[in-house]
Amino acid sequence: MDVLMPQLGETVAEGKITKWFKNAGDSVQAGDNLFEIETDKTSMEVPATFAGTLSAINFHVGEVAKVGAVVAIITGAGEAPLPPAKSAVSVASAAPARPVLATAQAGNGTSLDPWNAVRTPERNFGPARRSDGTASTPLARRLAAERGIDIATVVGTGPHGRVVARDVAGAPDRRSSQVAALTPSAVAAVYDQRTYEEVPLDAMRATIARRLVDAKQTIPHFYLTTEVEIGRLLALRKEVNAATEGPDGPAYRVSLNDFIIKAWAAALMRVPAANAVWAGDRILRFRVADIGVAVAIEGGLITPVIRNAESKTVTGISWEMKDLAERARSKKLKPAEYSGGSSSISNLGMFGVREFAAIVNPPQSTILAVGAGRRAPRETASGRAEFHDVMTVTLSCDHRVVDGAVGAQLLAEFKSIIEHPVSAIA
């Protein structure tokens, strides 16, 4: 039978043997002192609890044994060494697993788990902090999640811009807006009594539909309109075109729009804050002006980009535009030629449109809508009326990038350049 190191002291984990009263091979009686142990608190003699022969000593004087270690073995007189008794250590080490317990029944029949008497919610409705630094209350997050609303899109009216429950209650329900959307069959039903040709959506049409809906829904547009005197510009164009006359006719004809492209690029250079695009969590500001120019083509429109328009001559822009427009109409533009750009121009003047507002092309933040040139009366210094050549332009801005004053400044620079074209080269 094993002689174990006893638990001397409730908070003690080991003991040192300080004396042996018996030697290996001695016979012992129950009650005979075997050895003495010492802990940091006290010392004690340990007697044998049964009779036999002390057949083995595992820890000698000066050695330290952990509580429960087999210090010695006593074999019964005339018996073979017994198998060790089921040691207390192995019995104790069977740590009970936490079982599923009979839960308490609360009055209404819901069970209480004693290990989880307070029931933490299982669903997590997302982080409290939003990317713009504002927060949402737990209730608001839950309501948004339950209604399928993206909480990032909800405006918070609580303290410090926090989104509270009433903000979510007021936000449009994504599901309900989907429900309200017209389905093809619903539309067909509206025109049930009329004849029509069904035109399937090609890639360009589908892209225009998707991108412009997205632009209109997400970009906070505002619009600035001004009237620009184009008398001097028209005269300059005449001069430029006349200079290109050769023996076989004009080498090329520069259009008003080519000047407008150049002037727009120059204006953007003067107002760098407007020469920028929206990149989600930051704004990208450019040092060059890549201008997208809307070109109407069959079945839609496309916006090829004139790169570095601020450093090109008007004639150079003109050549490039002709080439791009021709290839645009024949659908031979490469994607690199109509992507990017820091601003765009759309000119419907050739169709007689006096004034219009265009939709910003994301990720750009500005688009200039150019109307037709016309004659308009002006009051002179002496109070008489004179007719001038004018055109109306409207600048659409993405308020996330371009604020009112910046847009106004951009427009003012453009007006200034158009009305005094020489300043663009001087």
């Binding site: 409730e10 006290t42 317990l101 209404n108 004693p114």
Partner: protein
Amino acid sequence: MSKRALELQPVVGGQNDDIGEAKRLELYRSQIRIRDAEQRAFDLFLQNLVKGTSHLSLGQEAIAAGFGCAMQKGDLSFCTYRGHAHTLARGVSVEKVLGELMQRDNGLMRGKGGSMHLTSEEHGVMGSYAIIGAHLPIACGAAWRAQYRGEKDVSVCFFGDGTTNIGAFHEALNFAAVWKLPVIFVCENNLYMEYTPIGDVTAVEYPAADRAAAYGLPGVVIDGNDADIVYREAIQAFDKARSGDGPSLIECLTYRHGGHSRADPAKYRPEGELELWKQRDPIKVYRERLKQFSVAEARIAQIDAAVRKEVDDATEACKAAGMPPAEILFTDVYADGGWAWRN
């Protein structure tokens, strides 16, 4: 060394036999059963099978046996954390007591109370109490109930010499005396308050008996190692309580062979003191007493063997018993059997 150790009465034989052989055999059996069981607990502790803390009554058996044998059915006992002896003396099985010490599922409280809180309502063991003095007023309450209902049971509470200095002791004695409650207060003076000689911390020589007058009670000191003397004193106290004459305070002088608890080898006791008291070992005293009253050696040996068998069988049963299951962790916090503090 305390002078009192030398003032003990010598063993007297041939007195008028007011106790009788049957009761004497009962007294002997109770003591040897306590001795054997406590010794076995000590051995099992060395084998790391008795766990946690444990306070043994080796050397103090006569008090538990003397009062236990004087009790009638229905009488209630309250004791301290040194309560194995009192629990066994009321007839609780050795298996249940050892099982509780070994923290097994077959223990008296399935391991939920432990050595210091042995309770067996069916035997009238109304708890073992680990907060010094707490059970004295509780015993008064049980006695108050008997008085109120006109029931004839008596409450007995056992405590050590150290208890006589705590507040609850004084409150309970006064309370019991003023209300004349059927309660017996038994002080087991083993001369040491935990590790300190009781004389070093007490203003009077006999920690219980010298306080009795403060509560209008007679001071009584007896030899706590002679079960006959304890028994006779107990009978008197029970009679007094049952006849409505109120409480008794009895100081029994004794000595513990082991330390305060299992973890205490009691090296603070002076050289020779233990040996002196071992000459007055209650078992030794009572074996001689039985012989003086012509009980045969063989009869004594028969009792010894039967008790040893009970202890051995209990040991085996406990070693084979399983551990308490996790479910009982949450049972019996409240009277409905559960734990729920919320709905």
